[in-house]
């Protein structure tokens, strides 16, 4: 490797090579973004299957509660706002990272985590109310598919929060080193991706559920 670098720098008249003589060097993390994007796409397929299941089963109430009976749109609107706000604040964290300010990045991460926690908290309280009212996942196919879809999204957000806490301490300990920048951008993709999934959830599950 080192000899080739010398050759390239000197620009001597050595015959150019048009094939890879050996494994060329991969800068660390150069393929992480693409790899993480692939993961997100496969995750997208999981959600697509859950959406398909919900779309098929959402009319099977088994004489149980219907979406109109159990969904509270004002609560869903608040929840959507929380997730959207957390999206923009994480965007601010990335902007702070680009400016090279570890302190600001951390502050925005905390703000994002608070909005994320609000989202998970509101969703859990919604589930608790439903279950207390007897609208449990066992009640009907509609409720089974509803809980599976929405809770899978909620679980993703929860793991995103865990990731954010870990990354917060990473940034605090090591600062904005290239590895941490890479992780921050991966988490940014994950977080915004979850917001994209939530668009599907509030549209297909809640709004269309109430419209049926």
């Amino acid at each position: 490797m080192s000899t080739k670098v010398v050759n390239a720098q000197a620009g001597t008249g050595e015959a150019p090579v048009f094939y890879l003589r050996d494994e060329h060097e991969h800068p660390e993390g150069a393929s992480t973004m693409l790899g993480f994007w692939m993961y997100l796409m496969s995750d997208c397929l999981i959600f697509a299957m859950l959406f398909a299941t919900y779309a098929v089963l959402s009319g099977n109430y088994a004489a149980g509660p219907t979406p109109k009976d159990i969904f509270e749109l004002p609560l869903v609107a608040v929840n959507t706002t929380m997730l959207l706000l957390s999206s923009i604040t994480y965007g601010f964290a990335i902007l702070a990272m680009q400016k090279g300010s570890a302190k600001q990045t951390q502050i925005w991460m905390v703000v994002t985590a608070i909005f994320g926690l609000c989202f998970v908290g509101i969703e859990l309280s919604e589930f608790a109310h439903l279950i207390a009212d007897g609208a449990t996942p066992q009640r009907s196919a509609f409720l089974s598919s509803f809980f599976t879809l929405v809770a899978t999204h909620g679980l993703h957000v929860s793991f995103g929060l865990l990731w954010m806490v870990v990354l917060f301490f990473q940034v605090r300990k090591h600062g904005l080193i290239p590895a941490n920048r890479r992780r921050l951008i991966c988490l940014s993709m994950f977080w915004h991706f979850l917001d994209v999934i939530w668009i599907g959830v509030f549209t297909v599950v809640y709004l269309m559920g109430v419209l049926r």
């Binding site: 390239a8 800068p27 973004m33 994007w37 397929l45 398909a52 004489a63 923009i88």
Partner: protein, 130 residues
């Protein structure tokens, strides 16, 4: 290829984290946020107030807004463009969207017809199901 990677090597190391994706600006995040708020508020308002008398029209508008908002998020928050990762990200996205469209439309289509061909069942019968 080989000469290219070696010549551009130093540059590559410095910007290793910048090559993967563009990270956007305050302006792009703000634009995305404002558009998202509008595209979220309108469907919620339409459904909660029942402003449109026709349900089918409301559903169509709500779905269209969601589709537009997904594109807005992709562009302004996920910084998706055909240039990211030399087009591989976009290729993966297009493939995923294709699979999703086939799976979703296929499931709904097939299962709708399956349901339509089933014998009707009363609520009492359903309650007695195992």
């Amino acid at each position: 290829m080989s000469t290219d990677t070696h010549a551009g090597h130093g540059h590559h190391d410095d910007h290793a984290h910048d090559d993967g994706a563009a990270h956007g600006t305050l302006r792009s995040y703000a634009t995305g946020f404002v558009l998202s708020v509008i595209l979220t508020a309108i469907p919620f308002w339409l459904v909660m107030s029942g402003a449109l008398p026709d349900k089918a029209v409301t559903i169509a508008v709500v779905l269209a807004m969601a589709a537009v908002q997904i594109v807005v998020h992709m562009i302004y928050f996920l910084h998706m463009s055909p240039k990211v990762e030399a087009g591989w990200s976009m290729l993966a996205l297009v493939f995923t969207v294709m699979v999703i469209v086939i799976a979703l439309s296929g499931s709904i289509w097939v299962m709708y017809h399956l349901n339509a061909n089933m014998m009707p069942m009363s609520a009492e019968q359903m309650r007695d199901m195992p």
